[in-house]
């Protein structure tokens, strides 16, 4: 447990411990006043001790319950604070996988109860959006935001802190997932996104014209499974015809198709909402082609473009602490009956 307390004069600052445990990562972070990160600990990036006392580098695994105490301890220690310095504990309670969510939520409830620090539940995607508040101190709602990750693809209108409207979402595969599957199909391995991003730099995005799927009933929605199939069909037909395909070209052409669709819907949202600002978030937000394309589109429309740094794009506790700060300021508190909700809807309270 961390030792050390804040000076009395600084107590007016609001310190939040954010705990994220919704899928692969166990992460914890202390954030001051919603924007200033005092510590950011992510389990896949710290060494852990084995049962026998040795230290081994941690490969991403999903043993959340084995790591959560260390991660929280480390976060408090790095921030040089103790539990009693916290104004609240924020924890992801959905969406995600039920096992990891339950570990985070149950742990946070136990921590909150025994330390008498108030508890706030946070929606994972609202966390991703909040990563932009950390990165860009001056950013305030309203603004449309594109959240793209392995598990989610959403276009959201952030009307105010805690007030969201979903404009569009994926009808089938998430963009990040399409990256992973295509990467595997063309022999690039895991993680697919960064690998395709790198390989595409040497490839020709116009080499193969893959389909840019439109979802006719809902103009802001996305669909990537057709694109995935198109890539697979292309590879199969090359094999059938005994033709070779160029990995870099397939990567670049696939990536271009994904980016085109994401950019097109984002542009529609910007114009329709007459937005002055636009943000992206989520793991795929660190894809260079996507960032460049959206940034260019924003520049063309005179719109401010925001995105988090790569470490805040992937799952982390700081974004949860930030989102929790705004919930806390809005007077929202969770009770000890807070439950994990694997399919929690954006904006659901």
């Amino acid at each position: 447990m961390a030792v050390g307390t804040m000076k009395e004069t600084e107590k007016k600052d609001i310190l939040i411990l954010g705990i994220e445990s919704s899928c692969d990562e166990t992460a914890a972070s202390v954030v001051r006043n919603g924007r200033e990160v005092l510590s950011n600990v992510i389990s896949s990036q710290i060494a852990t001790h084995t049962v026998y006392g040795g230290v081994v580098p941690e490969i991403a695994s999903r043993k959340h319950i084995e790591k959560i105490n260390q991660v929280v301890r480390e976060a408090l220690k790095e921030a040089s604070i103790g539990l009693k310095d916290l104004s609240a504990i924020g924890v992801t309670y959905g969406p995600g996988l039920v096992g990891p969510l339950l570990v985070g939520v149950s742990f946070a409830k136990g921590l909150s109860f025994a330390s008498s620090v108030p508890l706030v539940g946070v929606h994972h995607i609202e966390g991703h959006i909040a990563a932009n508040y950390i990165e860009n101190k001056e950013l305030e709602p309203p603004f449309p935001c594109l959240i793209v990750s392995g598990g989610h693809t959403h276009l959201v209108n952030v009307k105010d802190y805690g007030d969201f409207e979903i404009l569009g979402r994926t009808m089938d595969d998430a963009a990040g997932e399409a990256f992973d599957k295509v990467a595997r199909a063309i022999g690039l391995g895991y993680p697919g996104g960064p690998k395709i991003d790198a390989a595409a730099k040497a490839g020709d995005p116009e080499a193969i014209r893959f389909p840019r799927a439109k979802v006719t009933e809902h103009e802001y929605d996305f669909s990537f499974s057709g694109l995935k199939s198109a890539v697979l069909n292309y590879l199969n037909s090359c094999e059938m015809k005994n033709e070779t395909w160029v990995q870099a070209d397939v990567a670049a052409s696939f990536q271009a198709a994904v980016v085109d669709v994401l950019v097109e819907n984002s542009e529609k949202a910007i114009l329709s909402l007459k937005a002055k600002r636009f943000a992206i978030a989520g793991g795929v937000a660190s894809n260079s082609a996507l960032r460049e394309a959206i940034e260019a589109k924003c520049r063309a429309h005179g719109v401010e473009f925001y995105r988090p740094s790569p470490v805040l794009c992937t799952d982390n506790g700081a974004m949860i602490a930030s989102a929790a700060y705004y919930e806390y300021r809005n007077g929202i508190r969770a009770g000890l009956d807070l439950n994990a909700v694997p399919n929690l809807k954006l904006g659901e309270r």
Binding site: C23, S61, R62, H64, P95, G96, L97, V98, G99, P100, S149, G150, G151, R169, T170, M171, D172, D173, A174, G176, E177, D180, K181, R184, A185, S225, K228, S229, L232, N233, N236, S237, M240, P342, N343
Partner: protein, 145 residues
């Protein structure tokens, strides 16, 4: 005993699954296997429609499990593509689904074969490029009496 259904593409696969869902009983576990792009999620969408679920069914590759409650019984949609070690399934609460009162569909079920209940409907979807890129052969085998 294997039953074979020949599908001309997504629409046929969807319809096949939809009809199966209309007759499905609580506690059914369906193990779906087949390569990338064979239409496992399309099958699941059809099945969901057959249960009366209107919410869009998206791929649970990253989240491993998505649950849909809007139909005549719960649908637990697993995608265990990312499961490297069977132990990781413990995180998913799969026991409550497999032995619960809804229908469970497991995509890439081959990865967790030993966890499947004795009574499982095994569905394998295969491509046959000689018959065209859209053609699929759906092979069903019900195990465990």
């Amino acid at each position: 005993m294997e039953q074979i259904f020949e599908s001309g593409g997504d629409r046929d696969t969807f319809e096949y699954a939809r009809l199966m869902a209309e007759k499905a009983e609580p506690g059914t576990v369906i193990a779906l296997t087949g390569d990338l792009g064979t239409g496992k999620t399309v099958f699941t969408k059809g099945f969901a429609a057959g249960l009366g679920i209107t919410e869009p069914v998206s791929s649970p590759t990253f989240t491993i499990l998505q649950q849909y409650d809007g139909g005549r019984m719960p649908l637990y949609h697993f995608d265990v593509y990312r499961i490297g070690d069977v132990e990781e399934m413990e995180e998913t609460g799969y026991e409550d689904c497999f032995y619960g009162d809804g229908v469970t569909i497991v995509e890439w079920a081959g990865q967790i074969d030993e966890l499947l209940p004795e009574k499982t409907v095994r569905i394998r979807i295969e491509k046959d490029l000689e018959r065209g890129t859209d053609y699929r052969r759906i092979i069903r085998e019900d195990t465990g009496g």
